[in-house]
């Protein structure tokens, strides 16, 4: 090889190195000026967020993280009543609402290297309009349907925006909980799913291998790493490879973690409602007495006491008793196998009643299903358990291909869920009436928005069998402070969490 050839090859290699170094990646985000010497907090989670664009996010992890990356117009108080977050609102007429942005709202944070030269700027009414206009324009967003009643959005000034509706909706403000995006980036179709840019208390610093976040106020670094296996997650915490974990562990593990002197375990009540879904088109399950028999055949209190987290409690309706639209205690269906047997006989069922119960392959769900199977056997119900991988299981439920199934409603805030889950015209894919329940009287009550009467009717007719609200927990190293688990499992305390070095 001659000298010129060698020089050319050397030059080519050098230029390749230079170009590869210039290639922008998500990890090229420079640290925030306030980067502190505080130790990084590592949070192990069972499932990594799938989409950081609030217009598309539908999994629990994404929604929990998006609450910290973006700000929304509205949030909820402890009674799950909508309350101002970024803006206060006023209902001008049954068909229009005026939202006024707070003076002290946070600015958008544009990480260096994100392809924008402009300095940080405050969130404006134009950003609100751009965000919600883009959602209504999408055909593939899971949130688009919620805004089908939106006629148009008019910006009055930098701080004021008007929402005009097609039909009156008293609960419209409760829907405005999605994070607000910068208008100019919405316009150029920025990839928010991987490079989120918002005005929340945290900013995504790096998404290579793990999600590295940084708090804008003090530079505190927080890493989210995905560890799917619960035992491995627990071991990592015990060996101080991670600083905290939350949920998704067998309840027995909690006592083990509590016995470790280096760890703190905190628990709280939950609001996520678990239930047994019924196919109301099934010739047996369409009989009310059969459904009542099922409700009396499960010893829910024994299950809660023995195989569930502390602070788990009996469930009566999708919304918990402390919810503003609920505020009533429903009479629980007592465990009474002889009564269940009698009800089945009165319904003309030949015992044992054979039913197929579908569930996911999750070990705790299978465990609960097996216990219910044993309890139902005493009442004359022969339950066959079929565990399916999540995608197949959920697809079968949506198609109505089931007799019984077990699921949990996560993060439900508004009473409109009753209409979406039980109204006669809410069959999938339009709504969530997966059991194909048809009840003219309930439809009438839903139209009046009399939520107490609605709840009573559902509790009496049993289109599902209520089970429980599972408790929440978080386990962390002793040095972690200002974090506690929330009833809906959100991670909001990451905005205030702190750690001191050992």
């Amino acid at each position: 090889m001659c000298l010129i050839q060698r020089l050319l090859i050397g030059l080519l290699m050098c230029s390749m190195l230079i170009f590869s170094a210039c290639k922008p990646t998500t990890s090229s985000f420079a640290p925030i000026n306030k980067a502190s010497s505080r130790p990084e907090i590592v949070f192990a989670i069972s499932q990594a967020p799938l989409n950081l664009d609030p217009r598309y996010a539908s999994d629990a992890a994404s929604e929990r993280l998006n609450r910290l990356l973006y700000q929304s117009l509205v949030d909820f108080d402890i009674h799950t009543k909508p309350q101002p977050s970024l803006a206060t609102w006023q209902q001008l007429s049954p068909l229009s609402y005026r939202f006024t942005l707070n003076e002290k709202r946070r600015p958008f944070y544009y990480p260096p290297g994100a392809g924008r030269k402009a300095k940080a700027r405050k969130l404006t009414a134009y950003d609100v309009k751009a965000t919600y206009d883009s959602i209504t324009a999408f055909t593939d967003s899971p949130h688009s349907a919620e805004f089908s009643n939106l006629k148009n959005i008019v910006v009055f000034d930098e701080r004021t925006v008007l929402f005009h509706l097609i039909l009156p909706d008293r609960h419209f403000p409760a829907k405005l909980v999605l994070g607000i995006l910068p208008a100019e980036l919405v316009k150029i179709k920025h990839d928010f799913a991987h490079n989120p840019i918002g005005s929340g208390p945290l900013v995504l610093h790096d998404s290579h291998n793990k999600l590295r976040l940084q708090r804008l106020d003090d530079g505190q670094r927080i890493s989210l790493i995905e560890v799917k296996d619960p035992t491995v997650r627990m071991l990592k915490l015990v060996h101080a490879e991670v600083d905290m974990i939350q949920g998704d562990l067998p309840p027995e593990s909690l006592s083990y973690l509590q016995s470790k002197p280096t760890l703190t375990v905190k628990t709280s009540v939950g609001v996520n409602f678990s239930y047994l879904g019924l196919n109301m088109q099934d010739p047996q399950l369409k009989k009310l007495k059969v459904r009542q028999a099922l409700a009396h055949a499960i010893d829910r209190q024994a299950i809660i006491d023995k195989v569930m987290l502390r602070h788990s409690r009996l469930g009566g309706a999708i919304l918990p008793p402390e919810h503003y639209a609920q505020r009533q205690t429903l009479d629980a269906y007592a465990y009474d196998p002889p009564l269940a047997r009698r009800l089945l006989q009165e319904a003309g069922v030949r015992l044992p009643l054979k039913l197929v119960y579908k569930t996911s392959t999750d070990a705790q769900r299978l465990r609960l299903a097996t216990i219910m199977q044993a309890q139902m056997r005493v009442a004359g119900i022969d339950l066959e358990i079929r565990s399916l991988d999540w995608a197949t299981f959920f697809a079968e439920i949506k198609q109505g291909n089931f007799q019984l199934y077990g699921l949990t409603w996560v993060g439900v805030k508004t009473p409109e869920i009753y209409g979406q889950a039980f109204a006669s015209d809410s069959l999938p894919p339009k709504g969530f009436n997966r059991g194909r329940y048809q009840d003219a009287e309930l439809d009438k009550l839903l139209s009046t928005a009399d939520w107490r009467a609605v709840t009573q009717r559902i509790h009496q007719q049993l289109p599902y069998i209520p089970l429980w609200y599972e408790g929440q927990f978080a386990a962390m190293q002793k040095g972690i402070q200002n974090y506690s688990p929330k009833a809906d499992g959100n991670w909001d305390d990451l905005a205030t969490i702190s750690a001191y070095a050992h």
């Binding site: 015990v238 006491d305 023995k306 199977q373 565990s387």
Partner: protein
Amino acid sequence: MIKILAYGILLFWLLAVVLGRLFQLDPNQIDLNAILNTPSAVYWLGNDDMGRSILARLLHGAEVSLLVAVSVTAVTMTVGVLIGLLAGFYGGRVDQVLMQVTDVFLAFPGILLAIAFAAVLGPGLLNLMIALSLTGWVSYARLTRGQTLSLRNRQHVLAALSLGASVPRLIGKHILPLLTSVLVVEAAYSLASVMMAEASLSFLGLGIQAPNASWGAMLRDGVRYMLVAPHYVLIVGLSLMSLILAINLGGDSLRDHLDVRQEAD
């Protein structure tokens, strides 16, 4: 000494399965007050995550494991030997086609193919046995074909052929009996690998379904509580290990016993 230990363990498990039937232990009896209890006078091996007796479930799991192992081995041996005999005896095109099919199956890792079949067929005992049978016959086919190729040219086979013996008679009376010792040793090793495959598929949730007991599913549950109740996973793990080891050692001893060259030495 090792031989005695191996046969002893095998005998122990066979007796345990039979006695488990006699004592009518209920492997599905749930006791929520005994969740993950350590061994006691009432529950000799402790309780699982639903308070069920680990001993009862272990015995029931052993029964399932042995049933699957024996059934699958019987089916795979029959199919594999038949294919190997036909390929080896006829040779030519028949051999080419049958061995190419066998090679295709051999090209995939057996357990992965079984997982794929089990996933397509769906979970359950019968489907598990079908999945394992679909992948297990190839080793018998290869072995039988190789042996048949050398046996078919032996003097006694050629003599029978010249005397007008039919093909079934030639295979059944003059070739198959000479294959028996090789096949018995292969079957012994196959029992162990089928038991392991059954446990693996059940561990992945593709085998026996709840509430029925199987060692793989018990192992999976045990791992979840490894830090809280280590006795659970240890008991199941040691049981599986002892049985597989005993079958393999039994196979070794059977091979030594049937090996004529070793006897000549």
